[in-house]
């Protein structure tokens, strides 16, 4: 069972989408991520660099024909952080849904 652990680095919406996408694939190319997340080249590069610096993803540069392609994949640490973050979010939602404890009012 994954321990809930809120992760400030993953939580911003764009980064959460990026990590959630990478959590669902073995690897994804830069072009795919850019298209699905509707980000500019520079914005996506910045997000990937942030996650790579944190050790959450790795990127791999490949040459395909005359084009250079970048592939990103989640590291085990990144997957643990994502799973922990999702568990933490679920815990927050679960706590909010739980009725407040205390003695039942007498009629």
């Amino acid at each position: 069972m994954t321990q809930p652990k809120f992760d400030e680095l993953i939580h911003p919406s764009t980064r959460l989408s990026l990590v959630a996408t990478l959590a669902a694939v073995d690897w994804a190319e830069f072009a795919f991520l850019k298209d699905r997340l509707e980000l500019s080249d520079s914005a996506l590069s910045k997000q990937l660099t942030t996650l790579e610096d944190a050790g959450y993803i790795t990127t791999e540069r490949r040459v395909s024909g005359s084009r250079r392609k970048v592939r990103a994949r989640l590291t085990p640490a990144g997957r643990d952080a994502f799973d922990g973050h999702i568990a933490a979010l679920q815990a927050i939602v679960g706590d909010a849904a739980r009725p407040l404890s205390g003695p039942a009012p007498r009629s």
Binding site: F6, H11, S13, L16, S17, L18, A20, T21, A23, A24, V25, D26, W27, A28, E29, A31, F32, R36, I86, A88, L89, Q90, I92, V93, D95, A96, A97
Partner: protein, 154 residues
């Protein structure tokens, strides 16, 4: 974490789920797979009309063997495009069964259509039947797979 409201957490979970669903939509087989399959269907249908039965049988078995050898990696549904490889957890294990099941249904439809056309006295019934099914496979294969996946929740 204490500063995150339940509503925010719910939105974040929805964002993550949306991303996962987008990837799940990528599960399938490359377009080229369906075109090669359609071409094979047409060639075998034509072969059935003009070649002796034993040669058609050999060609059909060879086509099936080629499918096993060359398409087995694709049947997982994780490599529809060259831009991503969907994780095994998201793709699930039932895509190969669904695809092979579809192919068996296509074979059955081809035979039934050929028999129906033959009964009506149509010349080269097997070619017409194979051509019709080949068109369905080539043009509609990815969409049919998507619908069948939804039906069987694969």
């Amino acid at each position: 974490m204490d500063n995150v409201a339940a509503e925010q957490a719910r939105d974040a979970l929805a964002t993550a789920e949306h991303a996962r669903r987008q990837v799940a939509e990528e599960v399938g087989l490359p377009r080229a797979y369906w075109w090669v399959m359609a071409a094979g269907w047409l060639v075998l249908g034509a072969g059935g009309a003009v070649l002796p039965w034993w040669l058609t049988t050999i060609a059909t078995v060879a086509f099936g063997a080629g499918h096993v050898i060359f398409a087995s990696r694709l049947l997982s549904g994780r490599r529809r495009t060259q831009q991503i490889q969907v994780s095994a957890a998201v793709a699930g294990r039932r895509i190969p069964t669904v695809v092979v099941g579809m192919l068996f249904v296509f074979v059955a439809v081809t035979i039934l259509v050929a028999l129906a056309l033959d009964a009506e006295g149509t010349d080269h019934a097997s070619i017409w039947a194979a051509g019709m099914v080949a068109a369905v496979v080539g043009f509609g294969g990815p969409e049919i797979l998507r619908v069948v996946r939804r039906w069987v929740r694969a």
